[in-house]
Amino acid sequence: MSTYSVTEPSGRQKWFAGILVVLYAVITLLPLLWIIGTGFKSPADAIAYPPKMIFEPTVEGYVNLFTTRTRVPEDQLKALGEPTTWYDKLVRKNGVIITGASRFAERFTNSVIIGFGSTVLCIVLGTAAAYAFSRFKVPLKDDLLFFILSTRMMPPIAVAIPIFLMFRSLGLSDTHAGMILLYTAVNLSLSVWLLKGFIDEIPVEYEEAALIDGYTRFQAFYKVVLPQAVTGIASTAIFCLIFAWNEYAFAVLLTSGNAQTAPPFIPTIIGVSGQDWPAVAAGATIFLVPVMVFTILLRKHLLRGITFGAVRK
């Protein structure tokens, strides 16, 4: 613990700092608020010019997101009788009926499986590799570490065609396993490097103490190193998840029917008449939630983690 002898900032300085923070928050949050707002607009309000700040909220966008609909002539609509559910009623006034569920829920589930799956794999493999690099005499250690990092020295999409061909001949195209493997491969170098930094910071004396206290190397790792590496693991996990979650190009290229994730799906939400912006915004809003929840859950570890272990206890 260190004590600072810096004098308390003056009232004016505090005000200035406060205004800066609020300003920054507004700038970063504005697009987010706009997306969330658009999700609750009617299609007409969404494309109104000048933009409507005050509007009558509706969940039409969300209904449209989760359903497929078809336009039905006036007389047939009447013949169908009164709508039975609230969402039926909501779309009926636009002259359409709901014909079934959209594939959004399925795409979203794919995103969750692939995003979290690759994150877990990245963390497990990354922690094991980082621990080995940090603690053991690995032959050609520096070269191996450089080699691992070199996989990130070009954009992954640059090797899209070889990967596409490999996936096709291995039968991995459009499979969950294939996408998990791919995102793990892309993220693993980052994960190993970040985690190695964190584990290097943990004094080896703790493990030595555990070894002497009667524990095996693996038990010492599990009981002593892991709890102290939690900060690093949490922040690395967030980085990995955000990458896998937001990845668009490979998802477009390698998935279509079975394993498609949400990012390539959201732009394809076409309404019955033109691009359905409220539905797209609703999709984007729901898409934001898991990463947000995950980050909030790991928030207390993240603050220290983001400095890459530069702060010592």
Partner: protein, 331 residues
């Protein structure tokens, strides 16, 4: 508890010889202190016994059994580290329980509680048992660290400067406490320090290390009174032994190069003239800093001495130690 034998232990790190043919017997129930400056190989010797490092050559025996190929856990040794010793994510109680809960010991909870409470009592940390290990002062941390060794009943306790980070009062308290615990339980201890007071007060045997070699091994008194070399002589004694050219005083043996005089071995009142440079009243004793034929000497005198700086005093050696050109003692 068991006898520990180190046999021809040699170890190099990246080409530097850290330990050079170390052989030593730590008798069962003894308190052996390894003494030497930084880099002499004290900590490395401890790590050889603990199994955290393995020797390039030589062998360690604990209780008559060769430790070759055994992990630290299998050796059943307890160790107190110099720093970073407590598990920071655990409470004090969990830290103390940690070795007892290991797969090696699997102690029943009732006995764990008993032992932890007893050790906490001895080390006066009972009121801190539920604190986080990181919420302790340096002295408390070190006591917990010692406690974590004491809850066990290992073959040998290894301690690496366990008191060096404590303040003077606590250090002298714990010194007495450790010695009591050892004397009562008959534990075998291998203890590393560069503090000669710890060595003098606690040790049954002292091993003086120099550049990876055992220079002398014996009782503290033996090393103080019969040092084998200038190096060994300077390891013990505060103030340090005065080493002067042998020919300053009459009656030096023919091949003596240096004379070693403990402060209490400079007799005042007869002999040759020396000038008093400074008088230090320490309460129980008074130290005189003397200038003798361009050499500086420190000696002790009566606590209530009337000497003042600038005065002249006659001195002559009593029980001098003579050393040859290589620094080895002439007997």
């Amino acid at each position: 508890m068991a006898e520990v034998i180190l046999q021809n232990i040699t170890k190099s790190f990246a080409g530097n010889r850290a330990l050079d043919d170390i052989s030593m017997i730590v008798p069962d129930g003894s308190f052996v202190v390894l003494l030497g400056p930084t880099g002499a190989g004290k900590t490395t010797t401890l790590r050889m016994v603990s199994g955290l490092d393995t020797p390039d050559y030589g062998e360690v025996f604990i209780g008559g059994r060769s430790m070759r190929g055994l992990t630290p856990a299998q050796r059943n040794v307890a160790m107190v580290f110099q720093q970073y010793s407590l598990y920071p994510h655990l409470s004090v109680r969990q830290n103390l329980e940690f070795p007892l809960k290991s797969p090696l010991l699997r102690t029943p909870q009732r006995i764990i509680d008993e032992k932890v409470n007893a050790v906490a009592e001895t080390l006066q940390i009972s009121h801190k048992l539920d604190n986080k290990a990181t919420a302790l002062s340096g002295g408390e941390m070190q006591r917990v660290s010692i406690g974590r060794a004491l809850v066990r009943n290992p073959q040998i306790y290894l301690m690496d400067e366990p008191l060096s980070s404590l303040d003077a009062k606590l250090r002298s308290d714990l010194r007495i406490e450790l010695k009591n615990i050892q004397a009562k339980s008959g534990a075998t201890l291998l203890y590393v320090t560069h503090d000669q007071i710890e060595a003098m007060t606690m040790a049954t045997h002292v091993g003086v290390l120099h550049e990876g070699k055992v220079v002398q091994f014996g009782s503290p008194r033996e090393i103080y009174e019969q040092p084998i070399s200038i190096y060994a002589a300077t390891r013990l004694g505060q103030p340090r032994i005065n080493v002067l050219p042998a020919d300053l005083f009459p009656a030096a043996p023919a091949n003596a190069k240096s004379i070693g005089l403990r402060p209490e071995h400079i007799h005042q009142g007869e002999g040759q003239n020396a000038t008093v440079m400074r008088v230090e009243h320490l309460g129980d004793q008074t130290r005189l800093h003397l200038s003798f034929k361009t050499h500086n000497l420190i000696t002790v005198t009566d606590a209530h001495t009337e000497f003042k700086g600038g005065e002249t005093v006659k001195i002559q050696p009593r029980k001098p130690l003579y050393f040859d050109a290589a620094g080895m003692r002439l007997v």
